[in-house]
């Protein structure tokens, strides 16, 4: 980036400086980790994640500044819904926002973004979304300040947190697998039972048919 700016003249230097400022804003502004999504001009873009209960969710979203005109006139709106339909967060016409909540029920959490505001963009908009759950959402700066640890010890604490999260996830996966195995075995038993019963239903219905027709013909004095 910097070598490109050095080779050219004023304009190139300014461009590289603008890029540097943007990238350092992205890196220093706290919006470090995250993906970019494109929101279509009309309609909503939704992202979801299946989260178990009792997990902290922390998210930041912001409009990515492709050119300065966008930043001034456009705004996004967002809504976050829980799996049971409760509205956890709702924002209209902002350029950046954040939401944080602790999940109370396990299921699919949905975050939807759409372009709000009067100015309808002809093309879509790019937003950056920084979505952290569980141990990644933990505020390590406050832990470091509280316990007065830093450097290598802080890194090792983070690794310890990561290992605990892995263990919790493993137990969760094991429980899910056990639930699914029960459903599978019940379905397996039902398939066998229903197939035999279908044979029984077939025989029953044909016996009823024959009995009814016999009675019918006897009444008509044909037999």
């Amino acid at each position: 980036m910097s070598s490109r700016g050095c080779r050219g003249g004023w304009i190139r230097y300014l461009t590289s400086l603008a890029l540097l400022v943007t990238s350092s804003f992205v890196i220093w502004g706290g919006f470090v980790e995250g993906i970019w999504l494109t929101i279509p001009a009309s309609g909503t873009k939704c992202v979801s994640e299946e989260i178990q209960s009792g997990i902290v969710v922390l998210a930041d979203y912001y409009i990515v500044d492709d050119d300065h005109a966008h930043l001034r006139t456009s705004s996004i709106s967002s809504r976050v819904t829980s799996p049971f339909g409760n509205n956890l967060h709702h924002d209209e016409n902002v350029t950046h926002g954040q939401f944080a909540f602790t999940t109370t029920e396990g299921g699919n959490y949905l975050a939807c973004f759409w372009i709000g505001g009067q100015h309808q963009e002809a093309a879509g908009l790019t937003i950056g979304l920084d979505w952290k759950i569980g141990v990644a959402a933990k505020d390590w700066d406050s832990v470091a300040k509280k316990d007065k640890i830093e450097g290598v010890e802080l890194e090792l604490r983070k690794l310890e947190g990561s290992v605990e999260a892995i263990l919790k996830n493993l137990i969760y996966l094991k429980n899910r697998e056990a639930e699914m195995r029960e459903v599978s075995e019940k379905t397996n038993a039902r398939v066998a039972w229903f197939s035999i019963m279908s044979l029984g239903v077939c025989i029953l219905v044909s016996v009823l048919q024959v009995a009814y027709l016999q009675r019918f013909f006897q009444k008509r004095k044909l037999i």
């Binding site: 980036m1 910097s2 070598s3 700016g5 050095c6 230097y13 590289s16 540097l20 992205v26 890196i27 220093w28 470090v32 980790e33 995250g34 993906i35 970019w36 999504l37 494109t38 873009k45 939704c46 992202v47 979801s48 994640e49 299946e50 790019t126 979304l129 759950i133 990644a136 290598v152 890194e155 090792l156 983070k158 690794l159 990561s162 290992v163 999260a165 892995i166 996830n169 493993l170 969760y172 996966l173 899910r176 697998e177 699914m180 459903v183 599978s184 019940k186 379905t187 039902r190 398939v191 229903f194 279908s198 239903v201 077939c202 219905v205 048919q209 027709l213 019918f216 013909f217 008509r220």
Partner: protein, 216 residues
């Protein structure tokens, strides 16, 4: 001359920014609904970073699930080259070394009209090498070992997320099978009873007075 000096400052600021952020790992895990093409962008800070991840198509109640061709996955580097491609799968793990730093584009392409939900996880991992050690005096060799440990734990976490997504897909299939077993069997019994009822009605009509039973 004046521009060269400014360029030096810019280079200094850039290197300061990059080295101070050497402990940052980037992780994103989400699900998106793919109608035709959905692209997700992720920034890779350093060249030769390992970008790893996985994606799973969560079953969307397609009737003939096994006939579905799957979705295509492509990764494009900031210079427009295709870094990684996988066509026609319902889920995969990927890993590659980023040829350069910049904004990478991860695209899912759905060749069919039914929308699919894709659950993906992207992780950009950086291990400081001797070059970074020489540049920043705050980095010890122990930081390299910690970074390696962190990357190993991240790979375990990535595998767990992949398993979780696959488990979700399996659960959808199981639920669908359970529902199909119950409803299709009930429908089958009802249809059987209806068919035999219709048979009886038809035979009755054949022998009714208006037809004349000596015709039969």
């Amino acid at each position: 001359m004046w521009i060269d000096r400014r360029c030096l400052d810019v280079a200094l600021v850039v290197s300061l920014v990059l080295t101070s952020s050497s402990f940052i790992t980037r992780t994103s895990s989400l699900s998106v609904t793919v109608n035709e093409v959905e692209c997700v962008y992720e920034y890779v800070l350093y060249e030769a970073d390992t970008v790893s991840g996985n994606y799973v198509v969560v079953d969307h109640d397609i009737f003939w699930g096994s006939d579905h061709p799957g979705i295509d996955f492509t990764v494009t580097s900031p210079s427009g080259n295709n870094v990684h491609t996988k066509k026609g799968t319902s889920g995969d793990k990927f890993e590659f070394k980023a040829p350069r730093s910049g904004m990478y584009k991860f695209c899912f392409h759905n060749p069919y009209s039914t929308p699919e939900t894709v659950s993906f996880y992207i992780h950009v991992g950086h291990i400081p090498n001797e070059h970074d050690l020489a540049k920043d005096e705050h980095l010890d060799p122990i930081n390299v070992k910690i970074a390696e440990l962190r990357e190993a734990l991240e790979s375990v976490t990535a595998e767990q997320k992949y398993l979780k997504a696959r488990d979700a897909r399996h659960r959808h299939t199981n639920e669908s099978t359970r529902k199909r077993v119950i409803y299709y069997t009930l429908a089958e019994y009802l249809l059987l009873a209806c068919a035999s009822g219709l048979q009886v009605v038809y035979i009755r009509r054949l022998f009714s007075k208006s037809f004349g039973y000596n015709r039969v």
